[in-house]
C-alpha cells in the first residue's frame, strides 16, 4: 500500500509536466524548465506502467508515446547549433515547446541512450494491431536504426561522453563502472552502425572490484549508477565476462552497493545530521548550494547539483531519497525500512507521497528535514515508478527481455546464463 502510494504520486509527474503536443517532459517541475531527453525516455517506460496499473488508458498512453516518437523522428538532425540532435543522438536539454537545443547543452550519448531505451520499451509494449501501435513500432525501429554508434566512438576504443556543435567530441570517454551498460548494449546491437565488438571490453577493463566495509563489489560511488541500466535490464543471474570472473552479477552488485551506502550512513564519518542505518542514500542530486557555513567543529562545505557518492564522497549531508527508494528490487528489506523511517521521521517531506530530489537535515530549514530541494526532478520520479514496478511485477524487465535488440546487445557484450540461456 505504501509503495503503491509513492509509485502513483511519482507517476503523476509525467501527466503534469509534459507537453502533449510533442511528448517532451520537463527536467524538473520548476517553471520554465527545459525538457530532458532522459526523462522523456523514462516517461515512455512509465506509460505502460500507468496502463497496467489503471492510471491511464492504453489509448492515452499510445497517443502520448506516438506524439513523442513523431516529434523525435521529424525534429532537425544536423550540425546546426540549435538542432534537436545529430547522428541519431539528441541534445541533453530541449526547449519544451520548440523542441530545439536548450541551455547550450551537449549532445549526450547516455541521455540519448536512456531515451532510446524508453522508445524500445514502447515498441515492445505496444504490440497490438492498431494503426497507432503499428506506427509506434515503426517509428521506434527507425529512431533506433538511425543512431550512428560508430560515430559516437570518435575513433577511440570506447564511446565518447558527449559532442557539441563547433567543438566536437568531449575529449574523454567513460572510465570506471557507470550507468553506461545500457549504452553499450544498445550500441552493440545496432543493425546499422554498431559499436565495435571490442568497445565493451575496453570499457570494462577500467572497472574496479573493491572490498569496502566487507562488501565485495564493482565500485561506483553514487547510487544512480547502480540503477539506471538496471531499470531496463534484468541482470539477475546473467553475467558478462567480468562478473563471471568475480562470481557475481550486476543485480547482486547493486544489492551490495546499497548495503555499502547504508553502512556508510551508519558510520557517518562526517557527523551529518540524520544519517543512520535507517536513513541513507547518496547519489547525483541537488544540494543546498555551493558555499561554506560554520558548524561545530570547523566548517562544512555544501554543494549544488553534483554526483554525491559513497564512500569517497563528495558528501555534504544531502540525502537522495528517490535513489534510496529505487534500490528496492535489490535490497527490499532495508529499502522498505528506509521508506517507513522517512515517513515517520519527516512527515512534512512525505505527506504528498512524492519525494524531493534531496534534503539535508544538517542545514537549517522548515522542519527536521532541514533544507529540501525545490520541486521535483523527472529522473527521480521515473526511477521510483519503474523500480517499484520492477519490484512488484518485473514489468519493464519482462518487456525488455522480449526486445531483440536488448537480447542481441547483451549477447554481444558477452552476457550469458540466467534468462539469456
Amino acid at each position: 500500500m505504501l509503495l503503491a502510494r509513492f509509485q502513483r504520486a511519482a507517476f503523476d509527474y509525467f501527466l503534469n509536466h509534459g507537453n502533449r503536443a510533442n511528448g517532451l517532459i520537463a527536467d524538473t517541475s520548476r517553471p520554465s524548465a527545459p525538457a530532458s531527453i532522459a526523462v522523456v525516455g523514462f516517461a515512455l517506460a512509465c506509460y505502460p506502467v500507468g496502463v497496467e496499473r489503471g492510471w491511464m488508458t492504453r489509448v492515452e498512453a499510445a497517443a502520448r508515446t506516438l506524439a513523442t516518437l513523431r516529434f523525435f523522428w521529424s525534429s532537425e538532425q544536423s550540425e546546426a547549433a540549435d538542432a534537436t540532435g545529430y547522428q541519431g543522438f539528441y541534445y541533453h536539454f530541449l526547449d519544451m515547446h520548440s523542441g530545439r537545443r536548450a541551455w547550450q547543452s551537449e549532445l549526450s550519448l547516455i541521455d540519448s541512450t536512456l531515451l532510446l531505451a524508453g522508445v524500445l520499451t514502447a515498441a515492445v509494449y505496444f504490440s497490438e494491431d492498431t494503426r497507432a501501435e503499428e506506427e509506434i513500432r515503426e517509428l521506434a525501429d527507425a529512431l533506433y536504426r538511425r543512431v550512428d554508434w560508430q560515430w559516437a566512438q570518435g575513433g577511440a576504443p570506447t564511446v565518447r561522453q558527449a559532442w557539441k556543435a563547433g567543438s566536437g567530441f568531449f575529449h574523454y570517454g567513460w572510465e570506471g563502472y557507470s550507468e553506461a551498460i545500457i549504452l553499450y548494449v544498445l550500441g552493440l546491437a545496432s543493425p546499422t552502425y554498431p559499436l565495435s565488438p571490442a568497445s565493451y571490453g575496453a570499457w570494462t577493463a577500467t572497472y574496479q572490484w573493491e572490498n569496502v566495509y566487507d562488501q565485495q563489489f564493482l565500485y561506483a560511488g553514487p547510487l544512480f549508477i547502480h540503477q539506471f541500466s538496471h531499470v531496463w535490464l534484468d541482470f539477475d543471474g546473467i553475467q558478462d565476462e567480468f562478473m563471471r570472473e568475480k562470481g557475481s552479477d550486476y543485480f547482486q552488485n547493486s544489492r551490495r552497493a546499497t548495503y555499502v551506502q547504508r553502512e556508510f550512513a551508519l558510520r557517518n564519518p562526517h557527523d551529518f545530521t540524520g544519517y543512520d542505518s535507517e536513513c541513507w542514500g547518496l547519489s547525483a542530486n541537488e544540494g543546498p548550494g555551493v558555499g561554506t557555513v560554520s558548524a561545530h567543529p570547523g566548517e562544512r562545505r555544501f554543494f549544488g547539483y553534483t554526483a554525491r557518492g559513497v564512500p569517497f564522497g563528495p558528501d555534504d549531508g544531502t540525502i537522495a531519497p528517490c535513489a534510496a527508494l529505487a534500490s528496492l528490487p535489490f535490497a527490499p528489506q532495508i529499502v522498505l525500512s528506509f521508506l517507513r523511517t522517512l515517513c515517520e521521521r519527516y512527515p512534512q517531506l512525505t505527506q504528498a507521497s512524492r519525494l524531493p530530489g534531496g534534503f539535508n537535515p544538517t542545514v537549517a530549514g522548515n522542519g527536521p528535514q532541514g533544507w529540501v530541494s525545490e520541486g521535483y526532478f523527472g529522473l527521480d520520479q521515473a526511477v521510483i515508478v519503474l523500480m517499484i514496478e520492477n519490484y512488484r511485477s518485473q514489468l519493464i524487465w519482462q518487456l525488455m527481455r522480449r526486445c531483440r535488440y536488448i537480447v542481441t546487445g547483451l549477447q554481444r557484450a558477452g552476457f550469458s546464463g540466467g534468462w539469456l540461456g
Binding site: 547550450q104 551537449e106 557539441k164 556543435a165 563547433g166 567543438s167 568531449f170 575529449h171 574523454y172 572510465e175 570506471g176 577493463a205 577500467t206 572497472y207 574496479q208 572490484w209 573493491e210 572490498n211 569496502v212 566487507d214 565485495q216 565500485y219 560511488g221 570472473e245 568475480k246 558510520r267 564519518p269 562526517h270 567543529p297 570547523g298 566548517e299 562545505r301 564512500p311 569517497f312 564522497g313 563528495p314
Partner: protein, 493 residues
C-alpha cells in the same frame, strides 16, 4: 639593497661555495678513467661516489651546480615550501582540532624562501665539491661533449674512459602557447627565487608539479587559478584519488578549470591576460604571474651524443636497454634523461643499477624495479606497482581491499580523515600487485607496501605484522584483516 636581498645574496654565495666553488680549478686528467659521469644530480652524485668507493678512477662532470634539480629547483625547495604552506593552512582552520583560530596570521613569503635557501645550503654540504674531491672523485665543472665512443671533452680538455654514465637530468617543458614567452612565465626553475607570492597566479597543468605548487601558493595567500586540459587532475592516477585532490584544492579556494586549454597570453600593462577554452566556451582570466608545470624534457642536447654513437630522442630521452646500456655498450644512462618516471628515487635506483652493471659485472634489470611515487599535495597521493587498469590489460584478475582513512583511529584523532588506502591483489591470492594511498603522509605509508611487493610479502602475511597503534599505517593492517575476513566468508560458503 634590502635586508631580504642581502640575505638572499649571502645564501646564494654559501650555496655556490658547496655546489660550484668560484675558486674551483678542474683537475688535469691523466690516463684513462674507469668511469666518467656526466651530470651531478642525484644519479650522477650517487654513481660517482659509489665508483670511488669501489676504488675506481672516476670523473664527475657538471655543467652548472652540483645537486641537480632535486636540490636546486625540485623536491627540496618544493617540499620545504609545501611544509610551510601546510602550516599556514592548519593555522587558518584549526577549529577541528579544538584550537581557536589565531588572530592576524601574517604570511611571510620571504621568510619561507629564506628557509628554503638555508635548507639547500645544509643539504648541499653532504655532496660538496670539496667533499667529493676528498672522497676520490675528480670533479670537473664545464660543458661536456663526446668526442668519440670512449672520449669526452670538458671545455676542450679531453678525458678518456672505459665506462661512462649519462645522468644529465631533465628540464621543464615549455608549453606551446601563443604569447606565453613574450608575457613571461615561471617554471619550477625560477619560482623559488620570488620575493613575494603573486596576488593572482595561473598554474598551467594539473600534474604533480602543477597541483603541488598551485595548492602551496594558494595557502601562501595567492589567488590561484589552475587550468588542466584533462577531465581530472593527475591523469593516470586512481580517479577517486584525483577526485579527492580536486575537492581538496577547491576547499583551499583554488579556482579550478578542468577540460580547459590555455590558448593565448597577452600583456596588458603589468598584468597577463590569458585566454582559455573549454569545450565550446571561451573565457579570459587576468593574472599577475603564470606558472607552468606540464612535464619535463630530457637534457640530451649539446653533448654530441652522435659522436659517441648514443641514440636519443628529444622527447623520450636516451635510448637504453633493460640493463640501462645505451646504444654504445660502454655508456650507460640513469635518471630523468632516460626514464619515463622522472623521480629522484628512480635516479638513485638506476644509478645503483648502473654501478652494478657497469663496474661489477651485474645484470640488474630496469623492468624488475618496483617503483613507488608520491604527489605531495594535501592529502598526498602515493602509488606503487600496477593500477587495476594495467593489471587488466595484462589479463590479471584483481581484487581491491579498500580502507577509508575515516575508519583509521589515528587519522580520526589527527583530524586527517580524508583519503583511503587501496591494495590490489591478484584475485584468489594474497599477492600484492599494486597499491594507492591517499593520506596526509601517504608517501611514508607507501614504503611498507613497496617493501611487500619487492620482497614478495603477501597481504595475508602483512596481516601478521604487528603495526604500532595508533598510527595511520594501521590502515594496511585493516586491509589485511579485510582480506582474511573475505577469505573466511568464501571458505564458509
Amino acid at each position: 639593497m634590502t635586508d631580504d636581498d642581502a640575505r638572499a645574496q649571502a645564501d646564494a654565495t654559501a650555496l655556490r661555495e658547496n655546489t660550484h666553488p668560484p675558486a674551483w680549478r678542474n683537475p688535469i686528467p691523466s690516463g684513462t678513467y674507469d668511469f666518467v659521469v656526466l651530470g651531478a644530480g642525484p644519479a650522477g652524485l650517487l654513481a660517482a661516489r659509489g665508483a670511488a668507493t669501489l676504488g675506481r678512477r672516476v670523473a664527475l662532470i657538471e655543467r652548472d651546480l652540483l645537486g641537480g634539480n632535486r636540490l636546486h629547483v625540485g623536491c627540496v625547495p618544493s617540499k620545504a615550501l609545501i611544509r610551510t604552506s601546510r602550516l599556514y593552512a592548519r593555522m587558518s582552520d584549526p577549529q577541528e582540532l579544538g584550537v581557536p583560530r589565531p588572530r592576524g596570521i601574517h604570511i611571510d613569503v620571504p621568510a619561507a624562501m629564506q628557509r628554503i635557501r638555508r635548507l639547500q645550503i645544509r643539504l648541499s654540504r653532504a655532496d660538496s665539491a670539496y667533499r667529493l674531491r676528498d672522497h676520490g672523485v675528480d670533479v670537473y665543472f664545464g660543458a661536456a661533449r663526446f668526442a668519440g665512443p670512449a672520449r669526452i671533452t670538458v671545455d676542450g680538455v679531453a678525458l678518456r674512459f672505459k665506462k661512462a654514465l649519462i645522468a644529465t637530468g631533465a628540464r621543464p617543458l615549455a608549453p606551446a602557447i601563443s604569447g606565453l614567452v613574450e608575457a613571461g612565465y615561471w617554471t619550477n626553475e625560477n619560482v623559488f627565487d620570488l620575493a613575494v607570492a603573486p596576488q593572482r597566479l595561473l598554474v598551467i597543468g594539473g600534474g604533480p608539479l602543477g597541483c603541488e605548487l598551485a595548492q602551496a601558493f594558494c595557502r601562501l595567500g595567492s589567488q590561484v587559478i589552475i587550468a588542466q586540459d584533462e577531465p581530472m587532475f593527475l591523469p593516470g592516477e586512481e580517479r577517486d584519488a584525483a577526485q579527492i585532490l580536486s575537492d581538496s584544492l577547491a576547499r583551499d579556494g583554488l579556482e579550478i578549470h578542468l577540460n580547459t586549454q590555455v590558448v593565448a597570453v597577452r600583456k596588458q600593462g603589468e598584468l597577463k591576460v590569458v585566454d582559455l577554452i573549454s569545450e565550446d566556451r571561451k573565457s579570459s582570466v587576468c593574472v599577475d604571474e603564470i606558472l607552468t608545470g606540464i612535464g619535463r624534457a630530457p637534457n640530451v642536447e649539446n653533448m654530441d651524443l652522435e659522436a659517441a654513437r648514443v641514440e636519443y630522442d628529444t622527447r623520450t630521452g636516451i635510448r637504453v636497454n633493460d640493463y640501462l646500456q645505451t646504444t654504445n655498450a660502454r655508456i650507460y644512462a640513469a635518471g630523468d634523461v632516460c626514464l619515463t618516471r622522472k623521480f629522484a628515487h628512480m635516479a638513485d635506483a638506476t644509478a645503483r643499477m648502473v654501478l652494478r652493471n657497469a663496474l661489477m659485472r651485474g645484470r640488474r634489470r630496469l623492468s624488475t624495479l618496483t617503483v613507488p611515487w608520491c604527489t605531495y599535495t594535501d592529502p598526498e597521493i602515493a602509488h606503487v606497482g600496477l593500477y587495476v587498469r594495467e593489471a587488466r590489460e595484462q589479463s590479471i584478475a584483481v581484487e581491491t581491499f579498500t580502507v577509508l582513512m575515516h575508519d583509521v583511529d589515528r587519522a580520526v584523532t589527527d583530524g586527517d580523515e580524508e583519503g583511503f588506502l587501496k591494495i590490489h591483489v591478484k584475485q584468489g591470492t594474497d599477492e600484492i600487485i599494486g597499491a594507492t594511498v591517499v593520506a596526509p603522509h601517504a608517501g611514508e605509508m607507501i614504503n611498507e607496501l613497496c617493501l611487500a611487493i619487492t620482497a614478495g610479502i603477501g597481504l595475508g602475511e602483512l596481516g601478521r605484522v604487528i603495526h604500532a597503534y595508533p598510527t595511520q599505517a594501521v590502515a594496511i593492517k585493516m586491509a589485511a584483516d579485510a582480506y582474511y575476513r573475505a577469505r573466511l566468508r568464501a571458505a564458509a560458503r
